[in-house]
């Protein structure tokens, strides 16, 4: 272990070789939906994502656990692609490999599974000037999705025990019921419309603040 971290110098021993664990929270996930409710793809959404990270015995290897809760509304694109109100809980885990880039910055990449249980509902409308409008609700409950996530990002050391993590993530998966396209699937994010509504694909940015607990 000492041999492996030797080329990185003393700072590297602090951040890569010494085993630590962190608890963290996603800090910007829901902010844009409150600040720009009209322009952003979700509106007034609560997203709470706590994390737990801990280093493995092998230097530069780490396990990552996340839980999450999301509840909010998507944007209304048209009467036919209406706003969807969603709510869901999810967990994720990942195996992460880290490389030192500078004394304050570490590059990492990881992959792991995502499991999410969510529901959503909304209303679509067809205007009927002659006979009257047709409005119906669509609803999915207990929609279970299983996915695989890959990501990379940077750890920035803010202060002695504080860490800022900027992650670029890609996730794909499959869900249990799929009568209609889901715009936002909790745990996955904004989903791209594909050939098959069951298939979920999403990517995005995550900013987290972590505190060293050990």
């Amino acid at each position: 272990m000492i041999l492996m971290s030797a080329p990185f110098g003393t700072q590297a021993q602090d951040t890569l070789a010494r085993r630590a664990s962190y608890i963290g929270l996603d800090v910007i996930n829901s902010l844009p939906s409150v600040i720009f409710p009209k322009g952003y793809y979700i509106r007034y959404t609560t997203i709470i994502e706590p994390y737990y990270l801990f280093d493995l015995k092998k230097a530069g290897r780490r396990l990552y656990f996340g839980a999450g809760f999301a509840s909010g509304d998507t944007r209304q694109y048209s009467d036919f692609s209406p706003s969807q109100a969603f709510k869901g809980v999810y967990v994720r885990a990942a195996y992460e490999v880290r490389r030192m880039r500078s004394t304050r910055r570490i590059l990492y990449a990881g992959y792991g599974p995502v499991v999410s249980i969510a529901g959503y509902h909304g209303k679509y409308l067809f205007k009927g000037p002659t006979f009257g409008d047709y409005e119906r609700q669509f609803r999915e409950t207990n929609n279970i999705a299983l996915g695989f996530e890959g990501y990379f990002g940077f750890d920035f050391k803010l202060a002695k025990d504080w860490l800022l993590r900027l992650t670029f993530r890609n996730v794909m998966g499959r869900r249990s019921a799929a009568d209609s396209y889901v715009q936002y699937f909790p745990g996955f994010g904004y989903t791209i419309e594909g050939l098959n509504n069951r298939f979920l694909y999403s990517g995005g940015l995550s900013l987290q603040i972590h505190y060293k607990v050990r």
Partner: protein, 176 residues
């Protein structure tokens, strides 16, 4: 849904000398143009086409039962002896719609039956369609002869860019 300017852009770019750099872009654009476009249908109140055959009668008015507004129908009856009514609205709220045709010397009733379809379609959102009823009669009519043809309003699959063939919907031939 169709963006015909993509094919124009394609022919322009192929003329330039920067072939190599543009090759990936051309590949993407040609992939899009091969895909064509999706027929979403009217995504509105559907309508049937009516064609009158045989002798022409002076049509005073067409009145739809249970309608909140007759405007869309009366607008199409500028001609006193029409040979066809292009877009007679059918109800989104019921699987049957009834019309009363008032001619100068007689009054006729026509009810058409169909099965409404509301579903989600990729690239469109929710779409509305009407198809042949699974059971029961297709129409009730006091005309001497009535024929009804069902066709989808939302054509499945990909539509070619230049010769798109949208769903024709319900058409009715009437001999008064």
């Amino acid at each position: 849904m169709c963006q015909e300017d993509v094919s124009n852009r394609l022919s322009k770019t192929s003329r330039t000398a920067l072939m190599k750099q543009l090759l990936p872009i051309i590949l993407v654009l040609s992939a899009i143009s091969v895909q064509g476009c999706v027929d979403c249908g009217p995504q509105a109140e559907l309508s049937a086409r009516i064609r009158f055959t045989g002798k022409s009668l002076k049509l005073d008015s067409v009145y739809a039962l249970n309608a909140v507004s007759q405007d869309a129908i009366t607008r199409q009856l500028a001609d006193a002896t029409p040979r066809h009514v292009d877009a007679l609205p059918i109800s989104l709220l019921s699987d049957t719609t009834t019309y009363v045709f008032r001619f100068a010397e007689r009054t006729d009733t026509l009810s058409i039956y169909y099965q409404r379809v509301f579903r989600y379609k990729g690239g469109c959102g929710f779409v509305t369609d009407a198809r042949e009823p699974a059971t029961g009669s297709h129409y009730y009519s006091t005309f001497s002869k009535t024929e009804i043809h069902y066709d989808t309003y939302v054509r499945p699959g990909q539509q070619p860019w230049l010769s798109s063939n949208p769903g024709a919907g319900i058409s009715i031939d009437i001999e008064p």
